[in-house]
Symmetry: C2
Subunit: 402 residues, 2 copies
């Protein structure tokens, strides 16, 4: 008696196996909520966290990943002490992230680790043919050329999770690049929208952390207050969608209902709108090219009230202008912009420099740098290190008297 | 010596040969402006007009169509007297429209003739395998089942030119029907937005013809003032996109910047925005599946100011409610709605009935009708005739004292 031939499952029916880099952060926790809602379609096979061993231990109990990693050996020791169940401890630092991202049973890697920590892991995952869901804009700002070239060579999709780029990805859906006239990134304007430069000198970290429409991590919330977040998004959009700096506009849209837009060659504009909940873009990246149900309350435009649009004020918020300058100069200047920004924001959050000094430190570091090609990860890391050193020095020069 | 084999031109390079039904109307003239702007891509091979022989004669001199037609023999006589150059006079009435639409060298038929005059021509063009660009919503309201079934059977595309449906077509681009949760049609609200029923009793045709955002023909402008235009669009959307009445919502959006939206299964909303110029949707239908440049000023959201959204008032504007009722009853009731509306609007434009009587006449005619299947053009025309006769009688009953 012959048994029937097993049939290949349909692509839709197959469970997608995901690894999450940054699982205890804001995006990581939203991603796990999406996995909860679609347990029949998603399987969490890898988790990497920073320092929060307690939360990672809880996640291990709940999601039973095969491989886990943490940022430091000390964090890994704490996790070991709490207990990691049957999960294999893949290590710490960049190596741990690489191990989680490249494990053989991973289909898709969500990179939501902080800053540029996940860069090596993203490059390694691409080499292993994994689909990348990218929630971390610093990686493309720092190494957009390397990452997108590797993805093209390996035929790997990079799916943007940032709400703006996710919106543009949805707006472009199935359209030729030749149809794009320009991308329009929307910005809430942050907590200091409408203030002049002179009114921003003595704002505190606490004030800057009050984002009007989105609840996010601390670094990105400060970036939203300076508009550097939008500047990084401009650079990210350049790499994701292959458009020039002069084809990317930013418009202030305080209600954060329109997540971004694409103007096409005939002047028609396609926009994506939605509630401000990161589960939406995360689920879209997980489900792509399908689209799954979501039980979130739908957008109610009548309740949302009026939608407003305004031009950004690059005098009060010079970080946006600096990002355009970095993108137009190309080569190593975006690496410098990003590194100096990370240093300056950290100093601001520590209360050691004022809000206006963030842009000042970045600009001084950029002015001191001579742009060069960055054709390898080593070259990128070298420029990054130089910029961190220089901006730390610059930060000391503008330090507040406490 | 052998001559080289002729090569088939690329689809993009080939000139599209278009016939325009309703060439002297508002849409027809915009379509010819698009043909002017893309003379290398579009060739006007057929023109059909209503009664304006003078303008059609000018269009013949300029565009040199091979075949022309007019609504009546008298109009055709006037055209003959002025001179029709080398164009063949295909006849008058429905036969003339059919001849222009089915001429062998026509690739695409733009149906922008008034009311349901073009119904036979559209059905005949579909049978001849022509692509249909449909600017006339009455045809789908009256015979959506027949027209869409024929188009499916012949593999012919029906491209919507109405700005709302064109917007939805652009929003859906490449997406599966299973991704649609609901369609959201935007409505400017017309000149009487915000008024109560009691404030609409004595408005004049002149007032009703003052549309706040779009410049259009007289019939459609009155339909915009009563919101029947939106009701007809709801029915049209049902046929074009295969969605149920309860999946189609209408939202009042006075600025007419967002032309319509699609809410997808995950709650994400895709919108199409643009300036209010019919050349945009007409050109999109002509260029589809490509998209051509257009030198119109692009949408400037900052200058557009705020965008507002509100629920429609179906007490003051009962025509929208009547259209949903007709669609939900399906079968012959939309034919009755449309015919009674054409009669009532004509009487209102003649100053013989008041604004509020338009909905009253339609509702009385609908109430008097017993819905039946309409499986043939003959059945449709019979119901249409019955509804016209009944509503004319009803209109006499509510006639104004003059």
């Amino acid at each position: 008696m012959s048994s029937p031939e097993p049939r290949a499952p349909s692509p839709e029916a197959r469970v997608k196996r995901i690894a999450i880099l940054g699982s205890t952060g804001s995006i990581g926790r939203s991603a796990l909520a999406v996995a909860d809602a679609h347990a029949d379609r998603l399987s969490v096979v890898g988790l990497a966290a920073g320092e929060n061993a307690e939360l990672l231990a809880e996640q291990i109990v709940r999601y039973k990943p095969k491989t886990v990693a943490m940022a430091s050996g000390a964090a890994l020791d704490r996790l070991r002490a709490i207990g990691a169940g049957d999960a294999a401890l893949a290590g710490s630092g960049p190596d741990g992230l690489v191990a989680v991202a490249t494990a053989p049973d991973v289909d898709l890697v969500l990179c939501a680790s902080s800053g540029t920590d996940g860069l090596e892991a993203v490059l390694a995952a691409i080499e292993h043919g994994k689909t990348i869901a990218l929630a971390n804009k610093e990686i493309l700002v720092m190494a957009g050329g390397l990452v997108t070239a590797a993805a093209r060579r390996r035929g790997v999709a990079i799916l943007p999770v940032d709400s703006e780029h996710n919106a543009i990805h949805q707006c472009l859906h199935g359209r030729e690049a030749s149809e794009i006239r320009r991308l329009i990134l929307t910005a809430s304007g942050g907590p200091f929208r409408g203030r002049r430069a002179s009114e921003l000198l003595d704002v505190s970290a606490e004030q800057a952390l009050q984002h009007p429409t989105w609840r996010m991590g601390r670094k990105i919330t400060i970036d939203s207050a300076t508009l550097m977040n939008k500047g990084l998004e401009v650079i990210e959009a350049h790499w994701l969608f292959g458009v020039r700096a002069d084809q990317i506009d930013v418009v202030i849209h305080p209600q954060s209902v329109v997540h971004s837009m694409v103007e096409l060659t005939d002047g028609s504009t396609i926009a994506q709108l939605g509630v401000t909940d990161m589960r939406l873009p995360i689920q879209y990246a997980f489900s792509y090219p399908s689209r799954w149900n979501m039980s979130l309350p739908a957008l109610d435009l009548v309740r949302a009230g009026r939608l407003e649009f305004d031009v950004p004020d690059t005098v009060a918020f010079p970080c946006l202008r600096l990002a355009y300058r970095a993108l137009e100069a190309d080569r190593s200047l975006p690496v410098v912009l990003n590194a100096a920004n990370e240093v300056a924001v950290a100093r601001f959050l520590e209360g050691r420099i004022g809000f206006s000094s963030i842009a000042e430190i970045i600009e001084r570091t950029m002015n001191a740098h001579r742009p060069a090609e960055v054709a390898s990860l080593g070259a990128v890391r070298a420029v990054d290190q130089w910029a961190r050193d220089y901006s730390q020095e610059a930060a000391r020069g503008v330090q507040l008297k406490v």
